[in-house]
């Protein structure tokens, strides 16, 4: 008999754990070398394993309180991410306007996307937990 995966555990895996993996993968992407590559591969395996576990498990359905808490958590994450983006934009305008930067956007964008996704998912995961604990 399949063990039921409780909704709060699902959120922990889907948001907190995977968020951490996205974040680590994004940070590791800035480093060259075999160790970084091995760690990125390990992150990918952990990510696939988690997604498989979630998709094959018997899951508890979300009820109205869980849905409300998830919506609140997503709204909070969205607000925090907007603040972070605003701060980054202001910092770029104030401090980087006198510099001519030469960065490889093709390498930067995927890593930054992973980091932003990771941070967003982590905030959702932690906020949901906080709301559930009341």
């Amino acid at each position: 008999m399949k063990k039921t995966l409780y909704y709060s555990d699902r959120v922990k895996l889907e948001k907190t754990f995977l968020g951490l993996i996205w974040l680590i993968s994004g940070i590791l992407g800035f480093f060259d070398g075999i160790i970084s590559l091995v760690m990125q591969a390990a992150s990918l395996i952990a990510c696939i394993y988690t997604l498989l576990r979630i998709s094959t498990a018997k899951m508890e359905d979300a009820d109205e309180m869980a849905e409300q808490n998830m919506n609140r958590a997503k709204a909070l994450a969205s607000d925090y991410m907007q603040i972070v983006y605003c701060c980054l934009a202001i910092a770029a305008i104030l401090f980087l306007r006198n510099f001519e930067l030469s960065i490889g956007l093709n390498e930067m964008i995927p890593n930054i996307t992973f980091i932003a996704m990771g941070i967003n998912q982590l905030i959702v995961g932690f906020a949901f937990r906080k709301f559930e604990e009341g």
Binding site: Y6, E60, D63, E64, M65, A66, E132, G134
Partner: protein, 70 residues
């Protein structure tokens, strides 16, 4: 803001129901029943009516709002 007062615990004990059993009867998680009993979650009208139905009473008997003293 008015505070939610609930007599759910009282009714549940009178019916000798566990939180898990009540949760199954009304189709929510056990955590939600716990939060409702502690007055930390305002239920939807549907959930409030489902709970009252299980207890064989009215919504007003189970849930009420108490105005905060200023």
């Amino acid at each position: 803001m008015p505070t939610l007062k609930t007599r759910m615990y009282e009714f549940r004990k009178a019916m000798n129901l566990q939180q898990t059993e009540l949760a199954e009867l009304v189709g929510v998680r056990r955590e939600t029943i716990g939060k409702l009993e502690n007055g930390k979650y305002n239920p939807s009208l549907k959930l409030a009516m489902d709970i009252a139905k299980v207890f064989g009473t009215t919504v007003e008997e189970v849930f009420s709002f108490e105005k905060d003293e200023v």
